[in-house]
Symmetry: C2
Subunit: 341 residues, 2 copies
């Protein structure tokens, strides 16, 4: 992947061919996860025969799959044996708490994957081929899956986000977590501030996942649930902070501004609204992972986007916020953008 504008480098026929075949990598990683190969390597380096036994798979298949993973640097092959990299131990071995295997499950659900089979049509019309509002259609079950499966991607972000949002504030506060999903962001606030009360807002089936996570974190007595649509439910008494994580990118700018106005009206004076987003630079092609997220919004929504900082700032301002600050989260493609009511 190039960072920003690449030099006019050698795009050989090989590289074009490689891009045409890139889908193989997605399939190979998913198959390796499904066949439990990253567990097999957790006990130490293995050869084709031992991994095939562990995975109850053919030696031909395992050899070709493991070689493919080694070609792409996911694992290492040495002297005919395959072994973990430090990174595959951490992010792909099921015994690791940071294991991202479930993320692959979410990303391979038909609702997320199928639009790519119709990408030219989506580009023509400028919107998802999914029905209605796409993934943000009311009560879309894909968000239960998101809440269940995407937590490993989000867990490393919760601490930094909590610190930014609390900004040292102690004592009793009320926090609204819009589109709570897995609930991890609001739960983190409750963990960092033992007097914080958190209200999770999401579709009811999604909130069951959040509540379960609140239980596991031991903060369920300070965790309330507000089921429904962020655009429709009454937010209730004013809050010290409102979280909007991974949410604005699903909507067009006027919709975002409308929601931010509603958020601002639900904040105490000086209260904070904090968005967690992929925020590309103004060139919209860097950093690569943040910028590429626009593609996911093109394929699954009618008007969403990965908004730049100037766009998010403009939305906040139009909604009446001041003191807008951006806080990139280290080692991640995410940025917290915060405004004050």
């Amino acid at each position: 992947m190039h960072s920003g504008n690449p030099a006019d480098g050698p795009l050989t026929p090989g590289l074009v061919f490689e891009m045409m075949q890139a889908h193989q990598r997605t399939a190979a990683l998913k198959a390796a996860i499904d066949l439990d190969i990253f567990s097999a390597l957790g006990d130490g380096p293995g050869d084709v025969a031992s991994i095939a036994r562990h995975s109850k798979a053919s030696e031909r298949g395992i050899r070709i799959l493991c070689d493919f993973l080694a070609i792409y640097g996911v694992i290492v092959k040495e002297n005919g044996r395959y072994r973990h990299t430090p990174a595959s131990v951490m992010y792909l071995d099921p015994r690791s708490p940071a294991c991202m295997a479930t993320v692959a499950q979410f990303l391979s659900t038909p609702e997320i994957r199928a639009p790519y089979d119709h990408l030219a049509e989506i580009v023509r019309t400028g919107r998802t081929i999914l029905e209605g509002a796409g993934t943000v259609e009311p009560e879309n079950p894909v968000w239960v899956l998101f809440a269940e499966k995407m937590a490993p991607m989000m867990a490393p972000l919760t601490g930094p986000l909590g610190t930014v949002v609390l900004d040292g504030q102690t004592g009793p506060i009320r926090v609204l977590d819009i589109a709570a999903g897995h609930g991890l962001f609001g739960i983190e606030i409750a963990k960092q501030n033992p007097q914080a009360k958190v209200t999770g807002l999401d579709w009811a089936p999604v909130l069951r996942v959040a509540l379960e996570n609140a239980r596991k974190a031991g903060v369920e007595d300070r965790y309330d649930m507000l089921p429904g649509s962020a655009f429709e439910v009454d937010f209730g008494d004013p809050y010290d902070a409102v979280l909007l994580t991974n949410f604005l990118h699903h909507f067009d700018k006027p919709t975002c501004v409308g929601l931010l106005k509603k958020v601002r009206a639900a904040l105490k004076p000086g209260g904070r609204a904090a968005t967690l987003e992929f925020v590309p630079n103004e060139d919209r092609i860097s950093p690569p992972m943040s910028a590429a997220f626009s593609m996911t919004m093109l394929t699954t929504t009618t008007g969403g986007d990965a908004y730049t900082l100037s766009e998010l700032t403009a939305m906040y301002k139009e909604a009446g916020f001041g003191g807008i600050t951006a806080h990139p989260i280290p080692m991640s493609p995410h940025t917290v953008v915060m405004g004050r009511a």
Copy 2:
């Protein structure tokens, strides 16, 4: 892509996420080809509005798609305008004779793509989920498509292969082109040696493509057709050279040896058999493109592989060949391996 064994580098969660999303690149390149974006850029740099007009597509879609292509270095974005790279002019602009757009069409046919939706099952069983012998099932129409669409990948290889096979030999010679496909390899021999007579062997519907290419090259009066299976038809009078391009990789070793014996029996003493193959190093994970080709053989055949030079040499020897030499083709992942009867 890593070359050979990568160092234990930083496989951040971002890189795992990127691999899970790699399929987006295949879809984006295909959509850009289908929407004629590389023609649009052929007239000079364009902005979102001008490209959208050319492609009869939405500005939202074009902006996100072109940004995505720029992120991955396929095109360049500067000051809000998109332009060709020298490489995209050559390999993706339809006005270029080296344009590979049709290759994307071949690679996205259901027979080639669909197995990846079942890769874990394929690894378990060790063979394609396609029926029978997979893509090498008799009369499989996929080879007509291959002959029609894959010529741009093969055209740059024909000259070097012809030079290796002819090895300076002039005067009347007879050449058999097994699995002729588009016919370009045999046709090149006929072009390099004006007294060469070439016999193309392939399924009859495929040979129609080869014959049309022979006509275009002006060598059809020295181009004969032998329709049928290489394993079943009588090769006829002895040849000076037999070409086996992109063919052995579809079969297991005993099948390859059996065919090579039949080839040797059809050669004059001292005659050459020449295979064109992706030949990985003995570690089977480098060079990346040659090594990764095993994955395509896993998904589409029952026992094929990207064979190493030691494996190909052993097959040639077992079939009775001597003087075995390897000739990597510069700037390509392919190698010609030649044996003498």
